[in-house]
């Protein structure tokens, strides 16, 4: 799980990239609190070969990246 709430672009993408490089996970959950980060992390996930689903949780976005 990467909790990138409270961070503006491009930080959430950098945080997710670090996690992917470190652990190469099959699935990864990411929390962000703004639409720009949601879109950017979605693009990042797809560029790394993950399928990405997005759920709105209150005012946050929960992204699930799956290989």
């Amino acid at each position: 799980m990467v909790d990138a709430r409270g961070y503006a672009c491009p930080m959430p993408v950098i945080m997710v990239q670090k996690e992917v490089k470190k652990t190469n996970p099959q699935t990864l959950e990411v929390l962000v609190d703004n639409a720009c980060s949601m879109e950017n992390v979605t693009r990042f996930g797809r560029s790394q070969g993950y399928a990405v689903t997005v759920e709105l949780q209150n005012s946050d976005y929960k992204l699930t990246l799956t290989k």
Partner: protein, 345 residues
């Protein structure tokens, strides 16, 4: 160590990415009383780059203002970019800048030497443009900001609006796109040194040479590509001119590094604002998402976008190729269609 201040860390958005979106701006201006004056040739009602006011049959005044938070850590560089960007609005109207006033906000903690360098960057760029800085106004603020109010002149019959494009015109652009994405990659500390130098070179290049070439040809409309991105500014041009535009995406200069950064989501928030504004009017065809994103990417001190009479397009393009960073023929203007204003091919 006061010299180690990183200007971009004090900025929430970089450069023209800080601009309020085109849709929001239109709502903010809605209902404000518009004063009419027969000498006011261009006011805010047409979303143009600057106001133009006729003084005589031979002379019209061009006025504009532009400022933003740091887009570079080096204050001298930031000053040059902000000045080139502010001057550009006069060039985009076909005018020549003459006078400029500084607008500056600085944090109390910013070293005096850095403020001096920032101002020196502005002065040098304005001098290069053949204009003078004659004063200004500075306030204290946590986030630094710098820009200029610029006054220039143009012949009242040769004002280039963003809304004069005609079917048959050829669209030319004088700088590459992708600056917003490159600067976002810089914030992520992933941009190469070459990429950084390239972006700064583009942003500090005046649109003076482009303007000087353009005014000798039959150009029907012009704007500079800045905060709203190419597709945001083109949407305004297409709507204002009541035309349809077809863009040839493969002819548009998109730096390779910018395409790969866009693919991996290093995209400024302003791109999403621009997309929200212009997307309803754009048919993306088969264009890859990353390339679309770059066409919506907010530019700082971007190039001039011109709608040129077809008979003059080749000659102007040749001339531009010798004097601007990246002369490109990017599309054509056509009669209006139902539904969309811009088609990507």
């Amino acid at each position: 160590m006061e010299e180690e201040i990183r200007l971009t860390n004090l900025a929430k958005c970089a450069g023209c990415g800080a601009k309020v979106g085109a849709g929001t701006l239109a709502r903010l201006l809605e209902g404000l009383r518009v004063h009419h004056d027969p000498n006011l040739l261009v006011g805010f009602d047409k979303s143009d780059d600057a106001s133009v006011y006729r003084i005589s049959d031979e002379l019209a005044l061009v006025q504009t203002v532009d400022f933003f938070p740091p887009i570079a850590d080096d204050p001298y560089l930031f000053g040059q970019i902000a000045a080139a960007n502010a001057l550009s609005d006069v060039y985009a109207m076909g005018g020549e800048p003459r006078l400029a006033l500084n607008i500056m906000a600085v944090p109390a903690s910013m070293p005096q030497s850095a403020v001096h360098e920032l101002l020196r960057g502005g002065y040098d760029k304005v001098y290069e443009a053949g204009a003078l800085i004659t004063g200004g106004h500075t306030i204290l603020d946590d986030e630094p900001k710098y820009g200029l109010s610029v006054t220039g002149f143009v012949h009242p019959d040769r004002v280039l609006k963003n809304s004069g494009a005609r079917p048959g015109d050829v669209l030319l652009l004088t700088k590459p796109l992708g600056i917003g994405v490159l600067m976002t990659a810089k914030k992520a500390e992933m941009l190469s040194d070459e990429g950084e130098q390239f972006a700064y070179r583009m942003m500090t290049t005046l649109n003076k040479a482009a303007r000087d070439a353009m005014v000798r040809y039959e150009v029907h409309a012009c704007t500079d590509v800045t905060g709203f991105g190419l597709l945001g500014h083109l949407t305004e041009m297409a709507q204002g001119s009541d035309v349809h535009i077809t863009l040839r995406v493969d002819e548009i200069s998109l730096p390779e590094e910018a395409v790969s950064f866009a693919e991996m989501g290093l995209i400024p928030e302003g791109m999403y604002r621009n997309r929200q504004f212009a997307e309803p009017y754009v048919d993306p065809g088969e264009t890859a998402l990353a390339k679309q994103d770059l066409l919506y990417d907010p530019q700082t001190s971007g190039g001039l976008l011109m709608a040129v009479a077809p008979g003059d397009a080749d000659a102007l393009l040749d001339e531009l190729a010798a004097v601007v960073p990246c002369a490109q023929r990017i599309g054509t203007v056509e009669a209006p269609r139902d539904g969309v204003r811009i088609s990507l091919r």
